[in-house]
């Protein structure tokens, strides 16, 4: 949600006059108000609408009182984190303690002037949003100290090929996309692009686990003389399926092996978007589809391996699903064909990958709704 959108408040009170008065006051100060004349009505509203930013509830109500209402919310995982403030005439010490024990943020007495109540709620919401921003800043600092990079800083130098990439994190926060270039020796290089299904920090934390498994699987396979991309995906998938921490986490993966000696490229994919092979002579785009399922889905991931023959000047594009998400006034949509058409058109107009990257960075192609990553491999 945009930072400037009006804050939504749910007012709960069985005194209809007071409810009207508060609704009018909050609306005047730019709040988006929902009102409920009982706790039961409030629960119905919560079940049918998006969660409000804050709930302001009376204590003394017929049927379910304010404390019982608060207990109901605390017991429900969908509602327990909505900030809650009691607004009541009746506020003895025991009641205040019981309410605060239920993690109500504050008690405000009804004889407080209305504009002061509105200011108080504004302050509470401002403090909450400031705390969230500070927490995010702390996480960013901790992540920087860990020195773990899910996106490399430099492009690899691979004999006979020009490899480049572009990545943009959603809302500038590291997310679930990860890229890696694993150099085995002067002959073999692996190119990795994955996307943990999720966004922002939650997804980013799991990139550690997946990248560690992928790097280990590549190293062990190479150590045993096994350069098969499908066999490496099999190994990663087996470990992920047995990892209790990762059991509910799914990831796509495109794994490409470049053999600089023969110029051969082999590819296996796991639930990834089909790669694009741009044929420079024909000026056409060929779609390269794999059969593999998402990592961590089933023990048998059905991974196949295929060779891709790049001629001089041909390019191979590997990308995450954020690249094909488009947003306009009509809403969001995923359109693989539109993305394919745009890339082909730009290449046919003589644009280099560097120029195409500039288009992405300037939002020339689509408005960002997710992490976006793309790797380009061009044969010299």
């Amino acid at each position: 949600m945009a930072h400037n959108s009006p804050k939504r408040i749910l007012l709960v009170d069985d005194n209809l006059m007071f409810l009207k008065l508060m609704e009018k006051a909050f609306k005047k100060f730019g709040f988006d108000c929902s009102v409920a004349a009982s706790a039961e009505e409030a629960i119905e509203l919560l079940n049918s609408e998006e969660n409000p930013d804050i709930i302001l509830s009376d204590y003394e109500m017929l049927e379910m009182n304010g404390i019982e209402f608060r207990k109901y919310l605390v017991a429900n995982p969908l509602f327990k984190d909505i900030p809650f403030v009691f607004l009541t005439f009746f506020a003895d010490q025991d009641l205040v303690k019981e309410g605060l024990d239920l993690r109500a943020i504050d008690f405000v007495t009804k004889d407080t002037p209305v504009n002061v109540i509105v200011s108080k709620i504004n302050n509470i919401l401002f403090t909450i949003s400031q705390q969230r921003e500070l927490t995010e800043l702390e996480i960013k600092k901790a992540a920087a100290l860990l020195n773990f990079k899910s996106i490399p800083v430099n492009v690899p130098d691979i004999n006979g090929f020009c490899v480049d990439f572009w990545h943009s994190a959603y809302h500038d926060i590291p997310g679930g996309d990860f890229i890696d270039f694993i150099k085995v020796n002067d002959r073999y290089n692996f190119v990795v692009l994955g996307d943990i299904m999720g966004k922002k920090w939650t997804a980013w934390f799991f990139t550690f686990g997946f990248l560690s498994y992928i790097r280990a699987a590549v190293r062990f396979a190479v150590f045993n003389g096994d350069y098969s991309t499908s066999s490496i995906l099999d190994k990663v998938n087996s470990v992920v399926c047995f990892d209790d921490v990762l059991k509910d986490i799914l990831s796509t993966l495109s794994l490409v092996l470049i053999d600089s000696e023969t110029g051969a490229i082999t590819y296996s994919g796991a639930g990834d978007l089909p790669l694009l092979h741009y044929k420079s002579i024909e000026k056409e785009m060929e779609i390269v589809t794999s059969s593999g399922l998402l990592l961590g889905l089933f023990e048998n991931g059905n991974f196949n391996r295929q060779e891709i023959c790049l001629e001089k000047g041909d390019s191979l594009f590997i990308f995450s699903d954020g690249m094909i998400d488009f947003s306009d006034l009509a809403g969001k949509k995923s359109d693989y064909n539109m993305f394919t058409g745009m890339i082909r058109k730009n290449l046919n107009c003589g644009q280099t990958f560097t120029q195409i990257k500039d288009n992405f960075a300037n939002n020339g192609l689509n408005e960002q709704v997710d992490d976006r990553s793309i790797i380009s491999i061009t044969k010299n």
């Binding site: 995982p77 997804a203 509910d248 978007l273 089909p274 589809t289 399922l293 889905l297 699903d321 809403g331």
Partner: protein
């Protein structure tokens, strides 16, 4: 909010509608909690109607697939119906059409 509404249920099937236009990171976790709450092991099959959904992001796909894994672990099924063309295409691109049983409407789902 309740984003899942029960359409019909019988001894084996729980047929539900997903009341979302955009299924994304903001409602993915909540969706999973709601679906799992509704999932009664006595039902052999959940049939989820997505005909109101116009866009699905990868977080929501993750919640959908992880719900499937959960349901399968009880030897039950999660069947999808009502996918729009964009979402059908996306499922085919990333092979999720090989993972889920997908039909056009509730009526097209074969009897259990």
């Amino acid at each position: 909010m309740n984003m899942i509404k029960i359409y019909k249920e019988d001894q084996n099937n729980l047929m539900v509608d997903l009341k979302l236009k955009e299924a994304n990171v903001t409602n993915a976790d909540e969706f999973k909690v709601e679906l799992m709450k509704l999932f009664d092991k006595a039902h052999k099959r959940i049939i989820l109607n997505l005909n109101q959904v116009e866009y699905v992001d990868s977080s929501f796909l993750g919640a959908l697939v992880s719900s499937l894994k959960h349901v399968i672990s009880y030897n039950c099924e999660l069947v999808l119906v009502g996918l729009c063309k964009d979402i059908t295409d996306l499922f085919a691109l990333i092979r999720l059409d090989k993972v889920f049983k997908i039909y056009n409407t509730f009526n097209d789902v074969p009897a259990y």
